[in-house]
Symmetry: C2
Amino acid sequence: MADAKVLSKEPLPEDQAKWIKLTKINYRDPKGVQRVWESAERSTRPKGGEIDGVGMIAILDKPSGKEIVLLKQYRPPIDMITIEVPAGLVDDGETAEQAAIRELREETGFVGAVAECTPVMYNDPGFCNTNLRMVHLTVDMDLPENQNPKPKLEEGEFAEVFTVKVADLWEECHKLERQGFAIDARVGSFAEGIWYAQKLKL
Amino acid sequence: MADAKVLSKEPLPEDQAKWIKLTKINYRDPKGVQRVWESAERSTRPKGGEIDGVGMIAILDKPSGKEIVLLKQYRPPIDMITIEVPAGLVDDGETAEQAAIRELREETGFVGAVAECTPVMYNDPGFCNTNLRMVHLTVDMDLPENQNPKPKLEEGEFAEVFTVKVADLWEECHKLERQGFAIDARVGSFAEGIWYAQKLKL
């Protein structure tokens, strides 16, 4: 994965963009003044769909402690290998829970059962409209499928699956950053919350 | 704030966009195959700068428990009022910590002291290159400035400051979503981590 790299970058004209687009929003502000805002959007959200995608907190319940499933993945927009939770776009007609089970299996090979689903979360609502739900999945290590999981990645997808003890996730994020990996915000903020609750004994 | 609303949306041609842009990235994938990726970017990142912005976990230490400072803010890209942490773009030559202290004061009126700074976190690295550091700030309630804080918002900025007990943040996110607010991912994932650590007694 270390061989992956950006070769060149150029402006992307609107009529050539397939996956994403820029939108000019004319809006009325809270004082009644008409203003303009610039926004980026995905072109792929299912029609009438509420969310673009899902992220999964997939937990292996091991005798030595709970472990979270993470991916190392090369991401061209930042030209780095990221540390991410498994995630994916929702297909037409799919619920968040269905997409989570499908994507976890495709990306990691693990078969999970839904434990919890978060509110819709907006990734960067001053910049774009992209959003997701986080779905918590438990991975039963007694199931034969989970003992030797085999990802089924699509053409052009590359991801390396690994696991980290949930209780050490924050420390591990710092360590991975020092090793040159980029920390995805879902992983980082979840770890930050765990660390903060541990520190304050909440 | 409830009067704010999107009036119309239209495609934004590249040559009219001031704040954001689309980029076509030619890259070599981990197997050596040349591919194209579409990415959205902010045009405002300081030259040579590492991050676009900062988000602040600003904590009031009250006798009744620690409270986190949050904002209600209308966001045109999603046409909703969001629940966000105070946040802002980094100015030229500013460190994350300096930007955090300045933005907290501007957006909320509170004077904070830096307690912790997170790794760089990437908001949505399959879609865009935007990133931030989260800076934890403690707000000393004995300081006269913090007893009657006065935000200094810029023209066109509107934000309503409120606080929530940190230990109740997850429950509060669910409640706010039921009331029609949009949960920003930094608030939601931080709350999710706290809730998860509390549940598991990590």
